[in-house]
């Protein structure tokens, strides 16, 4: 009975704290997390396809660049890359601004934390996406590319009509994995001060001394985000492979 009363107290404190404004803050946190993840995925998609093309290239130099990119950005701790972009960006910006005289010689020009975080997470995501794209390109039947060439299709037409639709179809499951990874990586950019879910939970926990409550809530919200994305990617997979399944 005492346990039940205790639980009731816990729930009512939680409700009060959330209603006092932390609930709205957490919702904003989710919005920022999703924004960071989406922008990073887009940056990663651009970089990833370029790097995948480089890794598949006939030129040794390009292949080397692609290999180094994926090795380095998959082999380094995410935290290090994020610090590198945030503090390194600050270092470069400050250096440039000081030398042009737009700020005083003791002032510091900070890297915008959203930009730094998104670039870092996007570049990491790009390394994983490059592997996904490379794998799906290799899974396209050689015969189809040869047939397209035999029809006299130009390189661009081949890319647009044969390669892209198939790579997309084959890449969807892999991209789903990278998406989950990127959501989780986005929690790390709280260290640079982007007010996403993790930082909001952190602030709430520190200022209300209810760390258990807020970290548990953050964990649950992350679980909700990652589990909601599974059916969405399933749907995307069905959509992109609609010409390969038998109509019912």
């Amino acid at each position: 009975m005492e346990f039940l009363n205790d639980l009731k107290d816990q729930v009512s404190t939680a409700y009060e704290l959330l209603a006092a404004g932390w609930g709205v803050q957490l919702l904003w946190g989710i919005a920022w997390t999703l924004a960071v993840t989406m922008v990073s995925m887009l940056i990663g998609a651009v970089l990833g396809s370029l790097v995948a093309a480089a890794k598949l290239s006939r030129r040794g130099g390009l292949r080397f660049i692609g290999e180094s990119y994926t090795t380095v950005f998959r082999g380094e701790p995410e935290l290090l890359i994020i610090y590198l972009f945030y503090y390194g960006g600050t270092q470069i910006l400050t250096g440039v601004a000081r030398s042009t005289g737009s700020i005083g010689s003791t002032d510091i020009l900070n890297m915008p934390s959203f930009l730094g975080g998104v670039l870092a997470v996007g570049i990491i995501s790009g390394a994983y996406q490059a592997e996904v794209f490379r794998g799906s390109f290799l899974a396209i039947h050689r015969g189809e590319l040869e047939a397209a060439r035999a029809y006299g299709m130009s390189a661009w037409l081949r890319f647009r009509l044969v390669i892209v639709p198939q790579v997309l179809r084959l890449a969807v499951p892999g991209l789903g994995n990278v998406w989950q990874l990127t959501i989780k990586d986005s929690a790390l950019i709280s260290v640079t001060g982007v007010a996403e879910l993790m930082l909001t939970a952190n602030k709430a926990a520190r200022s209300t001394h209810h760390s258990l409550l807020f970290y548990t809530l953050a964990g649950i919200l992350y679980l909700v985000m990652t589990s909601i994305s599974t059916p969405i990617f399933d749907k995307a997979e069905r959509y992109t492979s609609r010409s390969f399944t038998r109509p019912k």
Binding site: L84, I92, Q180, Y215, Y222, L223
Partner: protein
Amino acid sequence: MDFDFYLSTMWSVLKALPLTLEIWFSGVAIGLVIATGLTWLRASGYKLGEYFTRGYVFVFRGSPLLVQLYLIYFGLSQFDFVRHSPILWPILRDPMYCTIVAMALNTAAYSSEIFRGSLRAVPVGQIEAAKAFGMSAFTRFRLVTLPIALRLALPAYSTEIILMTKATALASVVTIMEMMGTAQKIQHDTFRPIEVLTCAGVIYLLLNLSIARLFAWVEYLLSPHLRPAPEQSQQVKPVPEVL
């Protein structure tokens, strides 16, 4: 190029390598034990065990490691019974042990899925053959299932281990001065983040590359049957004409 600065930074970060390795090894080793338990629970066929492992894997794979770390380090100490427990409190008040616990619980979820997959990938024919030979369940597991499954699990498990090396960097956010924490401190002291983080990055990369090599070597040792046959001598010796 300030060569001395690079050298001294490298050296200071390298001095923190043992601590990083300690966190890494303890996390991976404890995680392996938990993962084995989880895999066994999942494979045992009890419905309850299956639900438990499914839930465990869902929770630990679906949320960021940072949340798990904060929850363990800051969150659990709110319980009175944790603070008054003679066993739990010495573990959970120490940021180092908390990191190890978080890493172990996290990697156990991923590893148990890898092990489950590799157990299922053991060809049925091999197991049937072992049964036909009259092997007992334990002998079958020891001599047939386990060696094959281990070999199948190795590539994915090595990836997981490398993810864990990267995860040790998170210890720096709970004040542990491992490689990342040391690099952070030098960076704040000197305000030269690019140089300092590059030095730390080189060490992390070398560490990960050597771990990958090590696993590739173990995999090579464990799969002699998949290697190409050794060069046959060029000429087949003519059969001596005895008769």
